[in-house]
């Protein structure tokens, strides 16, 4: 039980050491009692999927066997960010970065590195090995340009240990708020920092809090939106998994600021790791008296609960989310009244995104000026993105606002694999749009992305190369919104289905030029007439691909060709007779018996070339990889 600030400070001082131990820049003189090494293993969803939990168990077993269990601390953390290289293991104080570890490697690392003192070079992330020198992760291209605020503890602390969080100055902001600041001062700091909502809309957080605080005293609520509806993103989930106490602290601060004593976190039931860690963190905070009555010996009280979402994109929309917490089919309600006035159970409510909250304690501790010093004129601070798609370093990155798309993709993201060219990046998920190569140098912030016909969204950033068909991509997102439209209003319910029909027609090769005008007209109509943000933004992927890749639509319609070779009706597999060596490997792969031998022998070749019977080919693509060596099979 932590009764006052002095007790909190004492814990902080004890554990700060541990945390410093894991910061490479802290230098080698930091010691942690008898403990000589910290082994951090990623317990994020990505690495857990590739068995990091079993690796940890094996590691601990080997450590015991070696008899060094008193000198080594093994910690399961949240996501390190570089998920593409998972499972990841980092050893401190050196900061050596092991990538793609398998269970069998655990013993080797223990023997050679922990006992023998020699990092296992063959298992290290290759970027960190420069001749004889081994770099720490902070020196890699992936981490160097990042600025970690919301993610500062992910991959650093044990999310299930409240003391480690306190060691990073955790709950110090809450302590400061309840003992030294008035609610107005808190709100002013947040306002002054300029932070805008990270869930997509970009509404100034301080303003939202101010409205709710201005409502008459009485029951009010603090809600966290952890629904993370974007089907290709996992930022919020990673924060919940890697640093759940930051959210608890921030929501409690918000409660103090607006005069609420109850919080709700809406998380997807599909995020079991996140739910369990958050629940464990809430329990720990309660045990320590950081939630509940008389927080830090004041008469301020606050408590919170998790509500599980049952999986519906529209429930990420704030009013639908509130309806869903109330136990109904999660349909949006018209605004106004805004939740700040009439929200959960009809009471004044603030609702913010997970990442928004994760910034709050830092703003309180380091001040509005510090926060304002990062970012662009109208977008302050940093933004977390889930990098995915055709990019080398798939994972989570946090960058100062104003970083260019090119820097994110080429430098931090390590560029496009297989020597392919960048074609476009999609931000904002199904509500957003694409940014084409011609706008590669756009500085990422709320307003610039909107000016490009896209939006910040919650942070999904999907990179596409020349093999992505933009018409197919628009269709992919439309299929998603058709499924997810709640059906309450006609423009969205019916309009999106019509849009999808037209797109399908085009991708099947039955499109006509006038379809393009129809798409545009209908899209704009849906945008203006839908009730909630889902319908209002659903046509964005269509409009933005039309604006930037109209020629690709035209190729589908006029030439009946899919330039990227994705839309199955619009290309065939062919064999270049002169490249084909006649090895016949492809024919073995073909499930449809579509490949046969010709009697043509190319110059200098021994065997007759193969050919594909287009009428038999089912376009499964199985033959393609079998000819990697000669590259004779192509789509045309």
């Amino acid at each position: 039980m932590i009764k006052n600030v002095a007790e909190l400070t004492a814990i902080r001082d004890t554990y700060a050491n541990k945390i410093h131990f894991r910061k490479h820049d802290a230098g080698a003189e930091v010691s942690d009692g008898n403990i000589k090494k910290h082994v951090l293993i990623c317990g994020g969803t990505g690495c857990t999927s590739s068995k990091s939990v079993q690796i940890k168990a094996k590691m601990e077993e080997a450590i015991k066997e070696a008899g060094i269990q008193d000198e080594v601390q093994v910690v399961l953390t949240g996501c390190f960010g570089l998920c593409a290289l998972g499972p990841i293991v980092i050893v401190y104080p050196e900061g050596t970065f092991y990538s793609r570890i398998e269970i069998k490697d655990a013993e080797t690392i223990v023997k050679e590195h922990l006992v023998g003192g020699n990092p296992v070079k063959s298992l290290l992330y290759s970027e960190t090995v420069k001749g004889d020198e081994i770099l720490s992760l902070n020196e890699t291209a992936f981490y160097k340009k990042q600025k970690r605020v919301a993610l500062r503890n992910c991959g650093v602390v044990d999310p299930e240990c409240i003391n480690e969080y306190i060691g990073t100055n955790g709950y110090m902001a809450l302590a400061k708020v309840v003992t030294e600041m008035t609610p107005d001062e808190v709100i002013n700091t947040i306002l002054e920092s300029g932070i805008r909502g990270r869930g997509g809309g970009g509404f100034p957080t301080g303003r939202k809090w101010m409205f709710a605080a201005a409502q008459p005293k009485g029951q009010k609520y603090v809600v966290c939106n952890g629904d993370e509806g974007d089907p290709g993103a996992f930022m919020d989930r990673s924060i919940l998994e890697g640093d759940p106490h930051a959210l608890i602290e921030a929501m409690t601060i918000a409660g103090y600021a607006i005069g609420a004593n109850q919080g709700y976190v809406y998380v997807r039931a599909e995020y079991p790791i996140a739910v369990n860690r958050l629940q464990a963190a809430i329990d720990a905070a309660r045990r320590e008296g950081l939630l509940g009555k008389n927080i830090f010996g004041t008469d301020f009280e606050f408590d919170m609960q998790i509500r599980l979402g049952a999986g519906a994109f529209v429930c990420g929309e704030e009013t639908a989310l509130l309806t869903s917490i109330e136990g109904n089919r999660g349909e949006p309600r018209p605004r106004p009244p805004f939740p700040a006035v009439k929200g959960l159970f009809g009471k004044p409510t603030i609702i913010n995104n997970v990442e928004t909250y994760a910034n709050i304690p830092q703003i309180i501790l380091k001040g509005a000026d510090w926060f304002k010093s990062m970012g662009t004129e109208k977008s302050k601070g940093t933004k977390v993105f889930a990098l995915g798609g055709k990019i080398t370093n798939t994972g989570l990155v946090e960058i100062p606002m104003g970083t260019t798309l090119r820097e994110v993709v080429e430098e931090i993201g390590g560029g496009i694999p297989n020597g392919k060219k960048f074609k476009a990046a999609q931000t904002g998920g199904p509500s957003g749009g694409c940014i084409p190569a011609s706008k590669y140098d756009v500085e990422i912030d709320y307003d610039n992305l909107i000016a490009q016909g896209s939006m910040m969204g919650s942070g999904g950033l999907i990179v596409m190369d020349e093999d992505t068909c933009m018409v197919d991509l628009a269709k992919f997102f439309l299929e998603f919104t058709v499924d997810e439209s709640c059906g309450k209003c006609a423009p969205c319910r019916i309009g999106t289905v019509r849009l999808l029909e037209i797109l399908t027609k085009i991708t099947e090769g039955n499109g006509e030029m006038e379809d393009l005008d129809k798409l545009e007209e209908l899209a704009n109509y849906i945008k203006s007439a839908s009730l909630c943000g889902l319908g209002q933004t659903a046509p964005n992927p269509v409009l933005s691909t039309l604006a930037n890749f109209r020629d690709e639509y035209i190729a589908h319609i006029v030439d009946k060709k899919c330039p990227a070779g994705v839309c199955k009706n619009l290309f065939t597999y062919k064999i270049d007779l002169d490249k084909c060596m006649g090895c016949g490997l492809c024919a073995k792969q073909c499930p449809a018996d579509a490949i046969s031998r010709t009697d043509y022998v190319a110059e200098g070749h021994k065997l007759a070339s193969m050919q594909i019977d287009a009428s038999k080919c089912v376009k499964c693509g199985a033959c393609l990889p079998s000819c990697k060596k000669f590259n004779a099979i192509y789509k045309g």
Partner: protein, 165 residues
């Protein structure tokens, strides 16, 4: 995700029905009781067959359309039974861009069932999911709890073979 009603015959037991009635009795009259009842019913049957939805509607005295409305609204509720091995392909954006659609095609052709269906012997079911948070391994699929990542269509057969023994 789009939901289709199952074609698999319903074979609930009297024991399951008793449990369901107990569950309904416990929640009847509560505000917003439908969600917990459906969640509980799915726990009992593994999915929500239309027969069960009808029973819930009748017992709670609400229109079937309302029950069906909630059951189809949330993706947590499934209207099709799962196979002994539930195969789910991630069709989140990151996976889709990296060719998850081709994995789905391959699975459909190898298993002889479509997305959302179950094989006649109930051994395999096939579904699409959205981002499971393992985009670093994209494209991914899961078989029950096991996650397979960095896949290409030619790896599918080997995976299924593991379960076909």
């Amino acid at each position: 995700m789009k939901k289709k009603m199952t074609t698999v015959a319903f074979n609930g037991t009297a024991e399951q029905l008793a449990k369901l009635d107990e569950l309904i009795a416990k929640h009847k009259g509560e505000k917003g009781a439908l969600m917990p009842i459906l969640q509980g019913a799915q726990g009992i049957y593994g999915y929500l067959p239309i027969e069960v939805q009808k029973h819930i509607a009748l017992s709670m005295d609400v229109p079937l359309s309302e029950v069906y409305g909630v059951a189809t609204f949330y993706s947590q509720f499934i209207l099709n039974p799962k196979g002994e091995y539930a195969v789910a392909v991630c069709l989140g954006t990151a996976c889709y861009v990296k060719g998850a659609g081709l994995l789905m095609d391959k699975l459909e052709s190898l298993l002889g069932i479509k997305n959302g269906e179950i094989s006649d012997d109930r051994k395999f079911s096939l579904d699409a999911t959205r981002c499971i948070g393992a985009c670093g391994l994209a494209p991914v699929l899961t078989v029950n709890e096991e996650v397979y990542g960095r896949l290409t269509p030619d790896m599918i057969k080997g995976i299924l073979d593991k379960y076909n023994k």
